[in-house]
């Protein structure tokens, strides 16, 4: 169920729709494509109503749908012929670009999961759409194919095509999207540029290092650094948490102490952390349970 969704996809941008399973992402894109009729509300895609003006809208939209297929015995090149309209690009070139040219005589049922995904992408881009809707774009692709597809999406966007990307892959949303909308149970939890979402919901960086006997003076100095919220110690192991700017400050403080630790690790928050923070909102109302094994040295929240 999708309720009270306010989604604005500015022309020429790559907008991501992310959220937990069952958040309503696929329902939303089905409504946008006119494959499902909303019970209420107003929906305009490229100025058209997706249900009553489907005939005008659909030729302008390219879709790579989740849960869809082609006839088993249809060959790759025949799929291009079947789906091409007079405004289509060169199908052979697209097949080449997505590594499917050697498979152009293969039937759909013989393609691997990744090859099917790439074929759907080719079909989505075939007719020079103004809006491309990609639902779980890189599911089943190997890392090299993913990077290849990402590059193609960026190039497509550079050419002026608007992209709506539904994904579970946060690195994909972070790498590609100008704007991201986070959904849960049919509602929008927050929206904005990936960096802004990370800033709002997951700005805490975590730095860890070891020293045989961490000097109290150093730990006190670190605790007083701008942005540090917590410093904890577990034997020789020190953990510092705080805003991302502490990474530079802690590094600068450590180089003044010899010998510098050789196991310094830095965890920088990502869009995935922001998403988890947003999705865990409900749990926050419940009493917090935490097991703390380390000795709390200092903290400011």
């Amino acid at each position: 169920m999708v309720d009270g969704l306010d989604l604005d996809v500015p022309a020429g941008q790559i907008v991501g729709l992310i959220g937990a399973n069952g958040a309503g992402k696929t329902t939303t894109v089905e409504c946008i494509q006119g494959l499902r009729k909303p019970d209420a509300g107003q929906l305009r895609v490229l100025g058209f109503d997706p249900v009553t003006q489907a005939g005008q809208l659909r030729p302008l939209v390219g879709s790579q749908l989740q849960h869809s297929a082609l006839p088993d015995r249809l060959r790759v090149a025949e799929a291009i012929d079947l789906f091409r309209t007079p405004r289509a690009r060169d199908g052979g070139e697209l097949l080449e670009r997505f590594g499917l040219a050697p498979r152009h005589r293969s039937v759909f049922s013989s393609l691997s999961g990744g090859e099917r995904q790439r074929l759907f992408l080719v079909l989505a881009l075939l007719n020079r759409p103004r809006l491309v809707i990609l639902d779980e774009l890189t599911q089943g692709l190997d890392p090299a194919a993913r990077r290849n597809v990402w590059a193609a999406i960026r190039q497509l966007n550079d050419e002026g095509t608007t992209v709506l990307l539904v994904t579970h892959e946060m690195d994909e949303a972070e790498a590609l999207c100008d704007q991201v909308t986070v959904m849960r149970a049919g509602h929008v939890l927050d929206a904005g540029a990936p960096a802004d979402l990370v800033e709002r919901h997951a700005s805490t960086a975590v730095i860890r290092f070891s020293m045989p006997d961490p000097p109290a003076e150093l730990l006190d100095q670190v605790r007083r650094l701008d942005g540090v919220t917590e410093v904890s110690r577990d034997g020789p192991r020190v953990t510092v948490r705080g805003h991302r700017r502490i990474i530079a400050y802690v590094g600068a403080a450590l180089v003044r102490w010899e010998p510098v630790p050789d196991d310094l690790s830095v965890y920088v928050p990502s869009l995935e952390d922001a998403l988890l923070d947003l999705l865990n909102d409900d749990q926050r109302d419940q009493p917090a349970t935490a097991s703390v094994n380390s000795e709390m040295i200092g903290g400011r929240r």
């Binding site: 659909r58 030729p59 879709s63 749908l65 869809s68 297929a69 006839p71």
Partner: protein, 245 residues
């Protein structure tokens, strides 16, 4: 053909030739059963068959078996399987007009029927001979009307039934009683009164009667023809309303 329908028809026909076993039911079943039943009652004119040669009675009856097999079994299973697997969603999302797939199936279904009927007659000719057509105009009207009616029914069933397996079960359930009571089974004269009453209004009985009676010179069968025409209008209208995409 570069229109959406043209591209779909071309693709569907190509796929059909690539998977000929799918057509077995439509092509082989009517021929095999016609050969068996047609030979069971001999070739001497029989009062149970309105005084006609029983083999000719069945040759004139079995074209409608082809039509029913296409409409009640082949098409619903095909369409339901496409819907179940998301093929129709892909066509819809790709901008194929809402009615284009239904029209393409109508064309493919009619072409299949024509080829299967021609094959049936080609097999019947050397074995039993093809009876002379007494009233070719009525036969020429009834056959295409019936084909459109049953293909539309097939499209309609394909849109209503949730899966290919459900379509197969329901299709066969509709087909076999219709086949036994209205086309390929015993002649109406040997049926009990209750069975005859049940068989009379069945769509396949009406169509078979509208084809067989004028073919063998057993009467114009105007009532049956009107029934077939009404069925054609209703089935086509309902199939058009339930557009698949």
């Amino acid at each position: 053909m570069s229109t959406a329908i043209g591209r779909l028809v071309r693709a569907e026909l190509r796929l059909m030739t690539r998977d000929p076993l799918v057509l077995t039911f439509v092509f082989a079943f009517p021929i095999v059963t016609m050969l068996i039943i047609g030979g069971a009652f001999g070739t001497r004119p029989d009062p149970a068959f309105n005084g006609t040669n029983p083999s000719h009675w069945y040759v004139a009856s079995y074209l409608t078996v082809v039509i029913a097999a296409t409409g009640l079994v082949m098409l619903p299973v095909h369409l339901a399987s496409y819907r179940e697997r998301g093929v129709l969603r892909r066509f819809a999302a790709a901008g194929f007009p809402r009615w284009s797939f239904a029209v393409a199936q109508l064309i493919v279904g009619l072409l299949t029927t024509v080829v299967a009927c021609a094959l049936l007659l080609a097999v019947a000719e050397p074995v039993y001979g093809i009876p002379a057509v007494h009233d070719p105009w009525r036969v020429a009207v009834a056959l295409p009307l019936g084909a459109i009616a049953f293909v539309s029914l097939g499209v309609l069933l394909g849109t209503l039934l949730p899966s290919a397996r459900a379509a197969q079960a329901v299709g066969l359930l509709l087909f076999f009683p219709s086949f036994l009571l209205g086309a390929g089974g015993p002649p109406p004269h040997v049926m009990g009164s209750v069975v005859k009453q049940i068989a009379g209004p069945l769509p396949l009985t009406l169509l078979t009667n509208a084809v067989r009676a004028p073919w063998l010179g057993l009467g114009p069968a105007t009532g049956s023809l009107i029934g077939v025409a009404a069925l054609t209008v209703a089935a086509t209208a309902l199939a058009a309303r339930r557009t698949i995409l």
